[in-house]
């Protein structure tokens, strides 16, 4: 088991290296530089050249890459040109925000998706099932950002139920107040995100449960005289949840991708918004760090999925 | 001269494992199999599940790469790809599969299924090709209206006969039939077996007939080889095997065949339990320390058995012919 994980981790390394080179080159290939853009009336171009030189932006790419990697190993992702702050610090602040939102969304997604999927499968072919499926079709057919925009308009502005920007209210005080305020800020984006996330889960779980319902081992359980509700509990749900559990790791990718939209619409200062800003400001260090981080998180997600799968499914469990 | 000579054939599948996913061991699916098939005969290959029958068949026809050993056909070793191509080997050797549904492409009409080998080996024009297909259908007793249907529209027996028609299309010399009837009902099984025999009579085809149903094998085959764990334990004529089994495994296999005579069933059962007991006791002597069978020893001109060394010595002294070694 540990060996398998370790091997997976070892396979990750070349992937990460290639990703980092790719990311670095892409960032370098972007037009403009981080200083010229900030057209301050008093900024002296000579000073800008000086800054470019200090930051090594005139070196050949491999040298810049090498420097970057060397620093990476010291936990130094460089300074954000725009924010004048170590990228690590910046990502820590924003990453925490994105993490909260993502976690909350995930909890909601599963909290809503699992019961819904089971409910639909339980009532397979009946009206309830049809309603759930209509919901999944429709939700799947509306682009995510449209839902976000309409959601923020209705619940944020028209009804004024939820805050419409930021991650925490400026007035919030004390630990409790801050936590509540943070929660207040992620409820709406989290719900809207979950609305979308559930679609996959509902569909997947529904078909899994239906398959399981008609499987031979359920027939065996029935022939043992186990009541149907216990069969659901002990056999059907358990077995259907297995692929869903494994799916959780992969869903990180989707959550992170979606965060860019959510954070933009909700002006939520997380990594997604940071990325969009960084693109506009040509903040290379931030761009490279973020893309790499997201890639790394994706990798962790797949790793997590594999591990979860190998823990819960005895068939792939490796001793 | 035999039609085809299989000599010391081995097929090993690597088992990967350990930290670097290296090859740590081999599954010895086939581990040194030797036998010849004469022209026009049906050669039986029998053994329990996983004994390597299918793998042997696949290696002979070239679907599986042989790890070692040779398959000599027309004086050339056809385990080598280029020899197979040169000889148009796959035109002369065809295969019938166990699962008739899976062996027919469900998306192809019967005409295309049967014509496939024709298109690859005999370049007939459209008319000739269709005629040939119709003739083949007729030979296996199917009507012309099968031509544009799909495999799933036929019963298991009919499908298996379509498989036979395809195999016969290129006038093969040898057809390898891997459990052709074990998925079929009794009456349908009879139908297919009858056809196989009929075609053999008509075209002088040889069969390598693989099965674990000893009743069917006895009905079909003149020479039989019994396989277990990748090796042959006993080879002989039908008589040798059924009336004079010498290897403990063969005996056990024969004893396990259900007896259709109700009147003797208690006796039969007792006999089987006795054999089973002997088998459990003698297992050690009849297999080496790796639980593999010993090399074959000729006990009569037609009969070879993988006897333990002590017993083997006896027979080696008796016959001047050396056993066919593995």
């Amino acid at each position: 088991m540990w060996k398998t994980i370790l091997r997976r981790v070892l396979i990750m390394i070349p992937e990460l290296i290639i990703l980092s080179i790719l990311v670095f080159l892409l960032a370098k290939a972007m037009p403009g530089d981080p200083f010229t853009g900030s057209i301050n009336p008093r900024a002296d171009p000579a000073q800008i050249h000086h800054l470019m030189a200090i930051h090594g932006l005139y070196d050949p790419w491999y040298q810049q890459y090498w420097n970057w990697v060397a620093h990476l190993f010291h936990g130094d992702l460089g300074m954000s040109y725009e924010y004048q702050e170590p990228v690590v610090d910046l990502i820590q602040q924003r990453g925490a925000n994105t993490l909260w939102l993502a976690l909350f969304t995930m909890v909601l997604t599963y909290g809503i998706g699992l019961p819904l999927g089971m409910y639909a499968a339980h009532h397979e072919g009946k009206l309830q099932d049809t309603l759930v499926r209509v919901y999944t079709y429709v939700t799947m057919s509306i682009p995510f950002f449209v839902v976000l925009v309409i959601g923020i308009w209705i619940f944020g502005y028209a009804l004024n139920w939820f805050p419409t920007s930021g991650s925490v209210s400026a007035q919030a005080s004390g630990l409790g107040g801050t936590v509540l305020s943070r929660l207040d800020h992620i409820i709406l984006p989290g719900l809207l995100g979950a609305l979308f996330g559930t679609v996959n889960i509902v569909q997947y779980l529904r078909s899994e449960v239906i398959d399981a319902k008609h499987s031979d081992y359920v027939r065996t359980a029935r022939s043992k005289g186990v009541p149907m509700k216990d069969i659901y509990r002990h056999h059907i749900f358990r077995n259907s949840l297995l692929p869903i559990a494994a799916f959780a790791g992969y869903s990180i990718t989707g959550l992170l991708g979606g965060s860019i939209f959510t954070e933009m619409v909700f002006s939520y200062p997380g990594m997604g918004l940071l990325f969009l800003n960084a693109i506009n400001f040509r903040d290379y260090t931030v761009i490279t760090a973020l893309v790499l981080l997201y890639g790394f998180l994706n990798l962790l997600g797949t790793l997590l999925s594999d591990i979860v799968l190998s823990i819960v499914d005895p068939r792939v469990r490796v001793e | 001269m035999s039609l085809i000579e299989i000599n010391g054939l081995k097929v090993h599948y690597p088992i990967r494992g350990g930290f670097w996913n290296r090859v740590v061991d081999n599954v010895k699916a086939v581990d040194g199999v030797t036998f010849d098939i004469e022209a026009g005969e049906t050669y039986g290959l029998v053994g329990e599940s996983g004994s390597g029958k299918s793998t042997t068949a696949k290696a002979i026809i070239g679907l599986e790469k042989a790890t070692a050993g040779t398959v000599m056909y027309k004086g050339k070793d056809v385990t080598k790809g280029e020899n197979r191509r040169k000889l148009d080997y796959n035109r002369d050797v065809q295969m019938i599969f166990q699962d008739s549904l899976s062996s027919l492409n469900p998306r192809k009409r019967i005409e295309d299924v049967i014509a496939e080998p024709l298109r690859n080996f005999e370049h007939l024009d459209k008319e000739e090709e269709k005629l040939r297909v119709l003739q083949l259908l007729d030979i296996v007793g199917l009507d012309a209206d099968a031509l544009y249907k799909y495999p799933h529209q036929f019963s298991g027996g009919q499908r298996q006969r379509i498989g036979v028609a395809r195999a016969v299309a290129t006038h093969p010399k040898l057809i390898i039939a891997d459990e052709p009837v074990s998925a079929l009902d009794l009456s349908v099984q009879a139908q297919v077996l009858n056809f196989m025999k009929k075609i053999q009579r008509q075209f002088g085809i040889s069969y390598l007939f693989i099965s674990h149903d000893l009743g069917v094998v006895r009905h079909m085959c003149k020479n039989i080889a019994i396989m277990t764990r990748g090796r042959i334990v006993e080879v002989g004529t039908r008589d040798d095997i059924y009336n004079n089994p010498m290897h403990i495994y063969t005996k056990r296999l024969l004893a396990a065949i259900p007896e259709t005579n109700v009147n003797h069933r208690e006796a039969h059962r007792k006999h089987r339990l006795e054999i089973e007991k002997i088998y459990q006791e003698q297992q050690k002597t009849y297999y080496d320390q790796d639980r593999m069978a010993f090399p074959l020893v000729k006990v009569s001109p037609t009969h070879s058995v993988a006897l333990p060394p002590e017993l083997a010595k006896k027979f080696e002294q008796q016959s001047e012919n050396k056993g066919v070694n593995v």
Partner: protein
């Protein structure tokens, strides 16, 4: 908030009051509540509080209740006056400026503001390894600054402390003096303090990322920082050490709101007004909608920035660092340039999109600088006929659909402009159409508006031919000297316009005679007329810096003379009404 319109420059625009006071009286409940200010910006702020290190307006905005480190009070036209944190005395003959701190000047942590704090900004700006972007050639006029900047000297020899580092007086010695020194925002005198004692020990290169600058900064203004949520908001309460008028409002929060959400947020009364004051950058397209909000008044002041057309008429000589005009360049003919501006019909665009808070400009100095702005300049009023005749005379004859150059060669002109909103996009298209009517084949560089970074990196190349005419904007500091954009050595002179006359005129703005305000104003106007006659750069639009202000706010004023912006505010209710 009055809707009257007045004429200034070439276009009509609303004239709005710089002040706003809601109805009713201030109440204790109101003043004890929180004043909610929106920082309208599409990105989180960077969170650098240190006037020398700040690189963007958001940061200054969200830290503005802390007083922004300002040394001086200003009067009309941003002239430095007394009674601020410090007074300034210019000694022309000795070529010195003496800055004297007031006696009760204290930081918000109770520490005394010292002469070193006045000097320290120069060290930060001029430091070799600084992250500050503020250093410019003018600072080299401070004695010893050049060698400090080069890293040769440890201190700036030209700045002295007659009563010691911890005293109140700082004297700066210059190699030359300029009349612009009288105004805040000039590029000779840095007008803020930095807390030397507080920052001591942090290398200047690391200052911007230090927690003393980002998390726990100290202030000299009316409020002190309670909390900063990185990138999002700041909260403030009164600074008991503040030397000036005691602020009335007990809490202030400034929160970032994206441009797109701003109107909706104000509609649901989430904020009292917009941060930034005279620098506020509310989009003109939203003005009518904000004006309609019944619970908000609008206050504003002419902006210090303007939009302009630039023509590429030369290149920068990389050896000398000077701009050189090319006689043979595509846009070298001034009549071609003038014809294009006359035909552009900026007025129509501004009428449609400006909503009265942005209007056609007539010169390259915005009206915010009342004394030197040439209000009478006719600018480039739409005149297609004149434009056509200018071209005809100059030999740009029609051949088929398009005009050719005087040599009969095909003429394709490329317009470079930045991506922005749907409205600006429409604007560009409109200009193209106008020029097509004139018979000029004008296309957008790359077929579409350029992304900001590509736009500037293209234009700032020493020599480029992909952009012939461009639309850009420029914002002046509170002192309007235009050399940084139109000077012969100015890197931002991206059209590379350089004539002897221009150089001479610009020099005259700050020569010895210019200490006389009248002379200075006259020279400014002369320069504005000259620039229009050459049309290498042509004014496009001026605008107002405005903000909606909630009814509960009293004493809101963005007039430059209001040196106690924060202390003058009071509230009539506990929440925005």
């Amino acid at each position: 908030s009055n809707g009257k319109s007045s004429e200034s420059g070439a276009g009509k625009h609303v004239s709005m009051s710089a002040t706003y006071s809601g109805p009713g009286k201030a109440t204790t409940a109101g003043n004890n509540s929180t004043l909610k200010i929106a920082e309208v910006n599409d990105a989180p702020f960077a969170g650098i509080f240190a006037p020398t290190l700040v690189t963007n307006a958001e940061d200054s905005d969200v830290f503005s209740p802390g007083g922004e480190g300002s040394l001086f009070n200003v009067g009309k036209d941003y002239k430095i006056i007394d009674r601020g944190l410090a007074n300034q005395k210019i000694n022309r003959s000795a070529k010195t400026i003496t800055i004297t701190l007031r006696k009760d000047a204290k930081w918000s942590n109770g520490a005394k503001v010292t002469a070193k704090d006045v000097e320290y900004p120069y060290e930060i700006i001029g430091n070799k390894n600084t992250t500050s972007q503020q250093y410019s050639a003018d600072y080299a006029a401070i004695k010893g600054m050049a060698s400090y900047h080069a890293g040769k000297a440890k201190t700036i020899s030209g700045i002295t402390f007659p009563d010691g580092q911890n005293g109140r007086t700082t004297v700066i010695h210059y190699s030359k003096m300029s009349p612009s020194m009288k105004y805040a925002g000039n590029s000779f005198v840095w007008t803020t303090v930095e807390p030397y004692e507080y920052y001591k020990g942090i290398p200047i290169a690391k200052l911007a990322s230090s927690s003393k600058v980002r998390k726990n900064p100290i202030f000299i203004g009316p409020y002190k920082l309670d909390k900063v949520v990185q990138g999002e908001s700041t909260s403030w309460s009164p600074n008991k050490y503040y030397y000036g008028k005691t602020p009335k409002v007990k809490h202030i929060t400034i929160q970032v709101v994206s441009t797109n959400n701003a109107l909706a947020a104000f509609k649901s009364k989430k904020y009292d007004f917009v941060a930034g004051g005279a620098n506020s950058v509310m989009p003109s397209s939203q003005y009518p909608k904000f004006k309609k909000l019944s619970d908000y008044g609008i206050a504003g002041t002419p902006s210090m920035g303007y939009d302009y057309f630039g023509f590429n008429v030369g290149h920068m000589d990389t050896k000398t660092g000077l701009n050189v005009m090319d006689k043979n360049s595509k846009m070298a003919n001034k009549n071609l340039r003038r014809a294009m501006i006359y035909a552009a019909n900026v007025n129509a665009v501004e009428k449609k999109f400006g909503n009265g808070v942005s209007w056609q400009a007539n010169t390259l100095i915005p009206p915010a600088f009342k004394d030197v702005y040439d209000a009478k300049n006719p600018g480039f009023k739409y005149n297609m006929k004149k434009a056509k005749s200018l071209l005809d005379k100059a030999g740009y004859k029609k051949s088929g659909k398009w005009r050719t150059d005087p040599n009969g060669k095909k003429l394709v002109i490329h317009l470079g402009a930045m991506q922005s909103s749907a409205a600006t996009e429409a604007e560009y298209q409109f200009y193209l159409q106008q020029w097509h009517k004139l018979g000029l084949n004008v296309k957008m560089t790359g077929g579409k508006p350029m992304e900001m970074n590509s736009f500037y990196s293209t234009l700032q190349k020493p020599k480029q031919t992909s952009i012939d005419v461009f639309l850009a904007s420029w914002s002046l500091s509170t002192e309007p000297t235009p050399t940084q954009i139109y000077g012969v050595d100015a890197p931002f002179n991206m059209g590379h316009f350089a004539t002897k006359k221009n150089t001479a005129l610009m020099k005259s703005l700050n020569n010895n005679k210019a200490w006389n305000a009248k002379y200075r104003a006259q020279q400014y106007k002369k320069w504005q007329r000259y620039m229009n006659s050459q049309a290498a750069y042509a004014p496009e639009s001026f605008s107002m810096a405005w903000s909606p202000v909630n009814k509960r706010v009293k004493g809101y004023s963005v007039a430059p003379t209001n040196n106690e912006f924060w202390s003058n505010l009071s509230l009539t209710a506990a929440n925005p009404k």
